[in-house]
Structure formats: structure tokens, C-alpha cells
């Protein structure tokens, strides 16, 4: 029979146990929170995303408002980042540009994650000739030097479409060319997961292949997917800006940071109107850096082995 005192102790033990049990996600979050640089990256990114989402509300002018009395003005109180050759407010264009740059990044990564995890999952799960075929395809896509192919495809396909669709072409080009690394990694993971006991259980239950891959195998690789998606987004934003800078990505009048830096290919603007190309360049740099910090932090938090 328990005395009052003993029950109290027992309750205490229960409480203590409840507090100390942490899921893997909570543990990861704890590790992540300690990483100041990663937190900084996350915060910068949040600010940027906020600016992009609310761009139409925050921006002081309308996107295409042209004021011919205010052409090529240096930054001032009324135009924080000056105005361009058509008298448009540059800060407004920067905010709207971030919308496009981030959107292209997100959708490109989405395409590459879906393709990469599906191909990797299927190749790893089925093995044999399916695996062989998938890996040959991966090899072929990998044998293309990324940037030259992206340049060629966006130029050739982009030439057939009106300017406002070029944004979607850019997303797809980046997405369809950058899934191979993830596919290889997922395949490797699944090859080892396949041998574990929960897989025998899943098979014994008679689950369909689709369900096994999507509900049992891929969720186990989610930490890798998150990290690779984050770092992939930095790469996608970088590629989009490079393509747009070369005039082959998102085309004006749609503003993106990349095609805004393109202004500097005019030597007069490069040397005399730095406000037309330095701020968008810094914006790309800051965005890519904060995403990289976030991605590195996530990798350290989700996969303590690499530390």
C-alpha cells in the first residue's frame, strides 16, 4: 500500500520523465536555436520574405509609376534608392523584384525536390533494371554543364514565348536541371533503409509499393530533403539572377534583382549611377548568404553526425 509521501514521489518522477522526453524535431530545434548564425540567417530571410509578400502594401509607389520629372535621380528622402531611366522608384522595384526572385527560387526547388525524391525513391526501392535506368538518366542530366545548358534552353524555349512567361521557363529550367544530386542521395538512403525491419513489417502488411515509398521510406529521408532543399534554394536564386543578368532569365518589365543588376552592363550607369545596380546586387548576396547560413544550421541541427 502506498503512503501519501510515496505517491507524491511517484508523481514527481512521472513529471520529470515527461519533461525530459523530446522528439527528434524538438532536439533539432534546440540545437538549431543555439546556432546564432543560423538564427541570424533565418531572421534575415523572414524579413525578406515579409517584404516580398507584402511588397504591394509596403512599397511607397506603384510598380510601373513613371515620373518624367524625376528621371535618374540619386537616392533621396522621397526615393530611398533613387529612380531609374524611366523615373520609376527603385525601392519599389527592389521590393517587387524580391517577389520574383524568391518565387523562382521556391518553385524551382519544389520541382527539383519532387523529381529528386521520386526518382531516388523509385530507384532505391525497386533496384535492378529500374535502378539502372534511373541512374543512367541521372548520369546523363549530370553530364550537362549546368549553366551552359540553362542558357541554351532558356534562350531557345524563351524565344518562342512572350516576356511575361519567361519567369516560368526559368523556374522550370532550374528545377529540371538540379534534381540529380538529391536523387542520388535519396537512393543511397533508401538502399540502406530497405534492409531495415520496419520494411519487412510494411511488406508483411501487404502495403502497396506506392504507399511504402511515399509513407514509409521517403519520410525517413526528410531531414536530408529539407537541408538539400534549403541549400538548393540558395543555388536556384543565384542561377536565376545570373540568367536574368545575362538577359536570358526573367525579362523586363518584370523586375528581378538579376535583371536590375543588368543595368550595369551600360558602362555609364556602372560608373555614374551605382544606385541602379549596387542595391539589387547586395540583395542577392544577402539573400543567398542568409539561406546558406540557415541551410548549414539546419544540417548541423538535423544531422548531428556531421558535426
Amino acid at each position: 500500500m502506498l503512503t501519501v509521501n510515496e505517491t507524491a514521489v511517484a508523481v514527481d518522477v512521472n513529471k520529470a520523465q515527461k519533461e525530459s522526453i523530446e522528439g527528434p524535431w524538438q532536439m533539432a530545434w534546440k540545437r538549431f536555436r543555439k546556432n546564432k548564425l543560423a538564427m541570424l540567417g533565418g531572421i534575415i530571410l523572414l524579413v525578406l520574405v515579409f517584404g516580398a509578400v507584402f511588397a504591394p502594401v509596403i512599397s511607397p509607389y506603384e510598380l510601373d509609376d513613371m515620373d518624367y520629372s524625376q528621371i535618374n535621380k540619386a537616392p533621396s528622402a522621397s526615393h530611398w534608392l533613387g529612380t531609374d531611366q524611366l523615373g520609376r522608384d527603385y525601392f519599389t522595384r527592389m521590393l517587387h523584384g524580391s517577389r520574383v526572385s524568391l518565387q523562382v527560387g521556391v518553385f524551382a526547388v519544389l520541382i527539383s525536390v519532387v523529381l529528386g525524391s521520386l526518382v531516388g525513391g523509385i530507384a532505391g526501392y525497386y533496384g535492378g533494371w529500374v535502378d539502372n535506368l534511373c541512374m543512367r538518366i541521372v548520369e546523363i542530366v549530370m553530364s550537362f554543364p549546368f549553366l551552359p545548358l540553362a542558357i541554351t534552353v532558356s534562350a531557345v524555349v524563351g524565344a518562342r514565348l512572350p516576356a511575361e512567361y519567361k519567369m516560368y521557363i526559368t523556374m522550370m529550367v532550374i528545377g529540371f536541371l538540379s534534381w540529380t544530386g538529391l536523387a542520388r542521395m535519396i537512393r543511397g538512403q533508401i538502399l540502406s533503409l530497405r534492409e531495415q525491419e520496419f520494411m519487412q513489417a510494411a511488406k508483411a502488411l501487404g502495403l502497396s509499393d506506392k504507399r511504402i515509398i511515399l509513407k514509409h521510406l521517403l519520410p525517413n529521408t526528410v531531414a536530408y530533403i529539407i537541408v538539400s532543399a534549403t541549400l538548393g534554394m540558395a543555388g536556384a536564386i543565384m542561377t536565376e539572377s545570373a540568367l536574368s543578368f545575362l538577359g536570358l532569365g526573367v525579362a523586363p518589365p518584370t523586375p528581378t534583382w538579376g535583371n536590375m543588376v543588368q543595368n550595369a552592363r551600360d558602362f555609364y550607369i556602372l560608373t555614374n549611377r551605382p544606385w541602379l545596380w549596387v542595391p539589387p546586387g547586395i540583395a542577392i548576396f544577402l539573400t543567398v548568404m542568409s539561406i546558406n547560413l540557415l541551410g548549414d544550421g539546419l544540417r548541423d541541427a538535423l544531422d548531428p553526425k556531421t558535426k
Binding site: E139, I140, P145, L147, P148, V153, A159, V261, G281, V288
Partner: protein, 320 residues
Amino acid sequence: MSKYILKRLLHMIPVILVISILIFGIIKLAPGSPVGTNLDPRATPEQKQLERTRLGLDEPLYVQYGLWLSRVVQGDLGKSFLYQKPVKDVIGPYLKNTFILNIPVFILAFGISIPVGIHSAVKRYSVFDNFWTVFSLIGISLPSFFFGLLLIYFFAVKIQILPINGMIEAGSNTTGFAYALEVTKHMVLPGLVLTIGSLASYVRYTRNGMLEVIHQDYIRTARAKGLNEKVVVYRHGFRNALLPIVTLLGYSLIFLLSGAVIVETVFNWPGMGRVLLESVTMRDYNLMMAVMMLYAILTLVGNLLADIGYALVDPRVKVD
């Protein structure tokens, strides 16, 4: 080993075939007809039809592909309408210029990043390591075109000591040593951009590879035996960290060629990247196909070199 290389070479053939089909497909998707690129714009319909037949454009697609492929295999890449000479003769000098720019970058980047990466891993979290970690982060995140423009701005406006454009001065006809000096001067800025970009990722890569090794038990054993720290780090540690670096050496060939496209454009360096962009924007399809094919082959060679290097360094890799 030679058997392994031969096998890998045979393996490349189907990959090259598929790539060539893809490139052919991309070009076929492109708007505009190649008829007329060789012709006088005032050509009559009969002349145009004659040209169509000559180019085999009335044949079904697979026949066109076969014809194109057989011409390519015989070394006939067609004529560039932009330069009005055979594509083969156009590409040569530009390819040479790209290598002139990239080989010093390659040597510098590896020469610096390997010792730095090793030292960073051994002295993890030291001032030295932190400096290079920050350097890598910035280098990876800074778009090369923006960095290039900043340099041009700085050297064009503030201190005019280095040329910011092209490979030689306009109208210059120096030879011998003076020519070499002139080219070297022009190489400094684009070379700097490329070197810093590659350094950033190579240092990271070497450091990570070395970190995986340096905390293993056999390193502790080596230290416990009382071996000299240099021997421990370079003979015992670095040898095992060499594997990822050898892979990187092969891939960096591709990385350099790709990255150079942007830098060559920014600095107006007459290399492959510029030819590619020119051919793409001017729709010189023969030239474009040849450049793409060349890029693909160089990439495959890079992969092959990486695999061979891997097999040479690591006896655990199955060669047969």
C-alpha cells in the same frame, strides 16, 4: 587499370549519343529556319527549296538526326553564319583563351585551398579557421557577376591601374613578352573573381573532408605513438581526406568552364562562354550545337578523370 578506363570509355558512348539527341532536339525546338543563314536574303523560292533539300530539311526527323550525326562524326560541324567560317575554326582560339584564363585559376585555387582546408580542420574554431569559414561563406554567396562589376567600378573609377575589359588593348599588336604581359594584366581581375569563387567552395570541401578523418581513432593512435604532428596530419590524415579532393579535381574542370561563362561576359574575355552567349543570342545554331557538344564532352572527360583518380587513390574502389 587500362581495362577499367576502357570500360568507362565504352560506357560514355551511349551517354554521348543521348546527349547528342537532346542537343539536336533543343536546336529543332528553336524558332526560325536554318535556311537562309547561308543564302542571300533575296534568294528566290526555288533557290530556297534547293537549299532545304541540300540540308535535308524535308527528310523525317530521325533521318535528319542521322545525317547530322554522320557529318559530326566526320568532323564536319557545319558553318557558322555569324563568323562566316566553319564552326571548327571559330571555336579553337576561343577555347584556347578560356584555358589561358582558367588554368592559372585552377592552380591557384587548389594550391591555396588544400593547405588552408587542412590547417582549418586541424585547428578547428581557431582565428584562422573562423576567418576562412567567413571567407568561404561570403565567396559562395557573392554572385560572380556582381563581384566582377564591383571590381570594374573600383578599378575604372577609383584607381586606374588595371585593365577592366577584354584580353588585350584595343588595336594592340604587341608580340612575345610584351604580349604575355598585356594578357596577364587583363587576366588579373577576371582571374581574381574566378579564383575567389572556387577557393570558397574548395576550402569548405577540403576542410569537411579533413574533419571527417581527423577525429578518427587511427589518428589518435598515430598521435599516441608519438609521431610528429606533421606526419600525423599529412601522411596519415590527408591521405584519407584525399579521396573527395581527387573527385573535386575532376569536377572542377566542369565547374570552371561553367562559371567562366558569366565572368567572361562581365569582363568581355574572348572565351567559350562568350561564343556560347553570342551563338545563343544571334541564333547561330551550328555554332551553338558545337559549343554545347564540346561542353558536354569536356564534362564527361571531367567525370572520367574524377573516377580514374578515385580508383587510383583508393584501393578499395573496385576496378573491374
